[in-house]
């Protein structure tokens, strides 16, 4: 077996040193009834070539986003990733290192995390950020739990706006369900995010608002923040597309107390939904209630600048049942990809990338508005928007697949109770003029 360096001669010598006759002697603590005889009923070892062929055959059974005109967004976004990013994250020293618990030999990972935290803080307009979470949805759920910690159990309610991605709402509901947190949610509805203002009261620990929301609409967070703060509630601002933050006013500038979202759009591929990278930022005064790992600057014994994981007294390996969260990992390599892509872009690059995304979406929206049986519902949007069709969106998507176009995500796929005729459509810098034209043509044919 190519991955195992020991040979039988080594094994015999080592058993001798240990002082046992055979390998079975090392498994004697296993109860007799549970000792397996022979091999488990699965295929035996295979060559690299054979395994690669198996996966190639399966890969060929899917339609990659890059192979067709492609318009799905709704929480995962198709962007071009510079070749430099994938090369660097595959360097052995990043790829095959553990969590940087021994800082003297982990400065590479640690400095990258420190830079990542700074980039996330700048992009979100917040003071501090952590070293990432599993993904945007789990970051959202953890933010709600954090808000309840901040309220010290004196407030029970978390209000979710109707434009919050239904998966985020569901993941939050799951985590909150065991913790006496009352989730006030009215399901996915278009154009009524501001309704949360009337639902905020003194029992509200937090209000969760996504912008751009799942329908693509940009939400004005200021009046919501104002009302929330008047009732000593926290505003948790959510985003699913990090590129959008380069185009629209930051949630921090609009008064958010915690900002969480998905970072996949920068540096991280679609990967059928994971691994992605959750971003988590908050106000400085809340930092000791923040979940997840965090990297901080310090000095070494020679007085030189260095970095360490810090504030670990919040974490489970110290605090055990009193920890701020059970989370024990971040999304290390994905946050490295994010920070490398961001370093390549810089301010100028990400603003231009955002402008291109917005233009492509505007072009597509204009064309769709000209098709009979289809209309764009949004007043504002960044790179995705909602189309109302004259028939169920799932049927239209399936019919357009047959014409070689992957048109978007029916809202009903995310929320079965929602209006079946709504379709979420996204265009990015990867959408060529030909792709956009192909969308229009296919949609006309399907709706005619």
């Amino acid at each position: 077996m190519r991955y195992l360096p020991l040979n039988n001669n080594d094994r015999a010598q080592m058993l001798d040193v240990i002082g046992v006759d055979n390998i079975d002697a090392l498994f004697e603590d296993v109860p007799k009834s549970a000792r397996l005889k022979g091999l488990i009923d699965l295929p035996k070892h295979q060559s690299e070539q054979a395994v690669e062929r198996f996966f190639q055959r399966l890969s060929n059974k899917s339609t990659p986003a890059g192979s067709v005109p492609f318009f799905c967004g709704a929480g995962a976004y198709k962007h071009h990733i510079p070749a430099t990013v994938d090369h660097l994250i595959q360097r052995s020293e990043f790829l095959t290192a553990y969590t940087p618990y021994q800082p003297e030999v982990s400065q590479g990972t640690l400095q990258a995390l420190f830079e990542f935290q700074t980039q996330v803080a700048l992009l979100t307009g917040m003071e501090v950020a952590n070293a990432s979470m599993y993904d945007g949805s789990t970051a959202c759920a953890e933010a709600v739990v954090m808000a309840h910690r901040v309220a010290r159990g004196k407030k029970s309610k978390a209000i979710l706006a109707s434009g919050l991605h239904p998966h985020y709402a569901a993941a939050t509901q799951t985590l909150a369900s065991t913790l006496n947190i009352q989730i006030d949610s009215q399901g996915a509805q278009i154009g009524v995010d501001a309704d949360v203002i009337d639902r905020i009261d003194n029992d509200t620990a937090c209000v969760v608002v996504q912008s751009p929301n799942v329908f693509g609409e940009i939400v004005d967070l200021r009046p919501i923040a104002e009302k929330a703060h008047a009732h000593k509630a926290l505003l948790i601002a959510v985003f699913t597309e990090p590129v959008a933050l380069a185009a629209i006013e930051s949630p921090g500038a609009q008064g958010a107390d915690i900002v969480v979202g998905e970072g996949q759009g920068l540096g991280v591929g679609l990967a059928f939904g994971g691994p992605h990278v959750g971003l988590f930022a908050c106000r400085q005064k809340l930092v000791r209630q923040m979940p997840g790992r965090v990297c901080g600057e310090t000095v070494d014994a020679n007085g030189e600048r260095g970095f360490v994981l810090t504030l670990s007294t919040r974490e489970q390996h110290i605090r055990r049942e009193k920890a701020t969260s059970n989370i024990c990992t971040n999304s290390g390599l994905c946050c490295l990809a994010f920070t490398i892509h961001m370093s390549l872009l810089g301010d100028a690059g990400i603003q231009r990338l955002a402008a291109l995304n917005h233009e492509k979406a505007c072009e597509l929206a204009d064309l769709i508005d000209g098709v009979d049986g289809a209309s764009v519902e949004n007043e504002t949007f960044f790179n995705e928007f909602t189309v109302r069709l004259n028939r169920p969106a799932a049927e239209v998507v399936d019919a357009m697949v047959k014409k070689g176009v992957i048109a978007g995500v029916p809202l009903s796929r995310l929320a079965p109770e929602a209006d079946p005729n709504l379709l979420l459509v996204c265009a990015t810098e990867t959408s060529s003029d030909e792709d956009i034209a192909a969308f229009e043509t296919a949609l006309k044919e399907v709706l005619s």
Partner: protein, 521 residues
């Protein structure tokens, strides 16, 4: 041929060596922060000029600079390559972190994960266009269920601790469905990883610790005292038990433990962090387990990546399987399909989308490469390597418990008694020897714990060199060289870092020098 090499010693490093103007030391290159070298107007990505059409952002456009520095492509490459060279890695040397399982990461797995039919597939594109990706989910599920002899698996948990949450939520859902909502007490051994009690609390349970005996296993007398005579209507929700446990030992009373818990009407959550010691030789389903997460990033070698992403699929027993989270894949007559919305039994959704697909492809590639024979051999080699280390060091270091171990060898600090050297110093001295330290001060039940897990990836020659270093360090400690231990590491890119200062006055982001000066005023 001279084979001994030139001796190195801390004295040489502390000698009055010249300071360099650059701050670099030959291959050890100085690294500034991107915020110190980049500028907002520079970029390493060429993008076409926008046409400047009318915006539909409404009144919400972002004005002014964000403050993000940009680098050209060669500057970016150099920055991150320099950073990378300040990291230790499995590909560089022995990385014996107990309970973390730092085994070889085959590059075939990286290659298959990047195939476009998996890597460039959107989680919400129509299922008829994602059949290959769904087939990976299905085949992986089959392998995991077969290796565990369990009837169901929830793939979506994104890490080990997320898998713990999955298992404990399934238990809670089952209890609630059976009208057993008074069952809220979870037993957790004091040797458990900190995630176990944290998870139990996050699921709304209370934690009741059970002590270890002098053999490093669950104290059965204490457990029986807690459970005897309680009956199925007790307040016991279950137990969270790691097996092999965090001391690297198989819980030999595990079947009785499962029976006691089941008799008290509770469920058996097994923390599968150490499943790599069992694969192919023991199936958790044969031990009475109701739920167990599997760390794909440990047992099945998806890369640790400097702290994730992980993946924690959770196998479930017949009693719990109806409560599994959504989404999951099902085989239909027209191919594979997804169940994406929870019915009344499922405890809900744990995250957006389908879990960490990129880890599924890598883990499956690893499993198929090994096959049933190779997986068993890998398990045996991992256990053999750990015992070889324990046997080879037991005369100079102090194994925490007698007898053989499983995949990791646990030592305490008795051998350092009266030397002035502590576990931390010993670990830092290993860095100077060219090794990543073992896991230190965990598990908590052993004083000054040193947990060494070599994995099956190390050759005998590499182990022999490692053993030689460890013996030498133990002898140096006993010979009174405490000062050199306190100085260590001296050959690493950084000397010991001041973690107290970092925690007391947290600096969690870069701030422009002008703002730092203002803040100080």
């Amino acid at each position: 041929m001279k084979t001994e090499g030139r001796p190195t010693s801390p004295v040489a490093a502390n000698a009055n060596l010249p300071q360099t103007v650059s701050g670099s030391k030959a291959l050890d290159q100085a690294t500034s922060l991107i915020f110190e070298t980049g500028t907002p107007r520079r970029t390493g990505v060429d993008l076409p000029e926008p046409k400047g059409r009318k915006s539909r952002l409404g009144s919400h456009a972002r004005e002014g600079e964000i403050g993000l520095p940009g680098l050209s492509e060669p500057e970016t490459m150099r920055h991150y390559v320099r950073l990378s060279q300040k990291n230790y890695a499995i590909d560089l040397g022995v990385y014996p972190l107990g309970s973390c399982t730092m085994k070889h990461n085959p590059r075939l797995n990286e290659k298959v994960a990047r195939m476009p039919g998996f890597a460039d597939v959107h989680p919400l594109q129509p299922v008829q266009t994602a059949q290959g990706a769904l087939e990976v989910l299905s085949v992986l599920s089959h392998w995991l269920m077969t290796l565990c002899n369990m009837p169901a698996v929830a793939l979506t948990p994104k890490a080990g601790a997320h898998g713990e949450l999955c298992g404990m939520m399934a238990i809670r859902a089952r209890l609630d469905k059976d009208g057993q909502s008074h069952k809220r007490r979870v037993l957790v051994p004091e040797s458990a990883h900190g995630t176990n009690p944290a998870t139990a609390v996050q699921c709304g349970f209370s934690v009741d610790e059970i002590p270890a005996n002098d053999k490093g296993r669950v104290d059965m007398d204490a457990l029986r005292t807690k459970l005897e005579g309680l009956g199925a209507d007790s307040d016991i929700a279950g137990i969270m038990l790691t097996n092999p446990n965090t001391c690297g030992l198989f819980e030999n009373d595990i079947i009785e433990i499962a029976e006691l818990i089941h008799a008290a009407g509770g469920y058996f959550y097994c923390d599968g962090a150490n499943f790599n010691a069992l694969v192919g030789r023991v199936r958790p389903g044969d031990l009475g387990v109701d739920a167990m997460h599997i760390n794909l990033h440990k047992t099945f070698s998806t890369p640790h990546g400097g702290g994730g992403p992980g993946s924690g699929p959770t196998v479930l027993s017949d009693a719990l399987k109806d409560h599994a989270p959504v989404p999951y894949v099902v085989a239909g007559k027209d191919g594979f399909d997804l169940v994406e919305h929870a019915d009344e039994n499922s405890f809900g959704r744990m995250c957006a989308f389908h879990g960490n697909m990129g880890m599924y492809t890598r883990a499956l590639s690893y499993m198929m490469s090994h096959g049933s024979d190779g997986l068993k051999q890998a398990t045996e080699d991992a256990v053999l390597n750990a015992n070889y280390i324990q046997a080879s060091l037991s005369d100079v270091m102090t194994p925490a418990f007698g007898g053989t171990c499983m995949h990791e060898a646990l030592f305490d600090d008795r051998f350092l008694k009266d030397t002035g050297v502590e576990t931390l110093d010993f670990a830092k001295a290993m860095i100077d020897e060219g090794y990543h330290p073992m896991t230190m001060y965990f598990p908590l039940v052993v004083h000054g714990a040193m947990l060494i897990e070599p994995t099956e990836s190390e050759s005998k020659g590499e182990l022999d060199r490692f053993i030689l270093s460890m013996r030498s360090l133990a002898q140096r400690a006993k010979a009174g060289e405490v000062e050199s231990f306190k100085q260590a590491p001296v050959y690493a890119p950084k000397r010991r870092l001041d973690e107290t200062q970092a925690a007391r006055k947290p600096v969690l982001r870069w701030t422009p020098p002008s703002e730092t000066a203002e803040a100080a005023e």
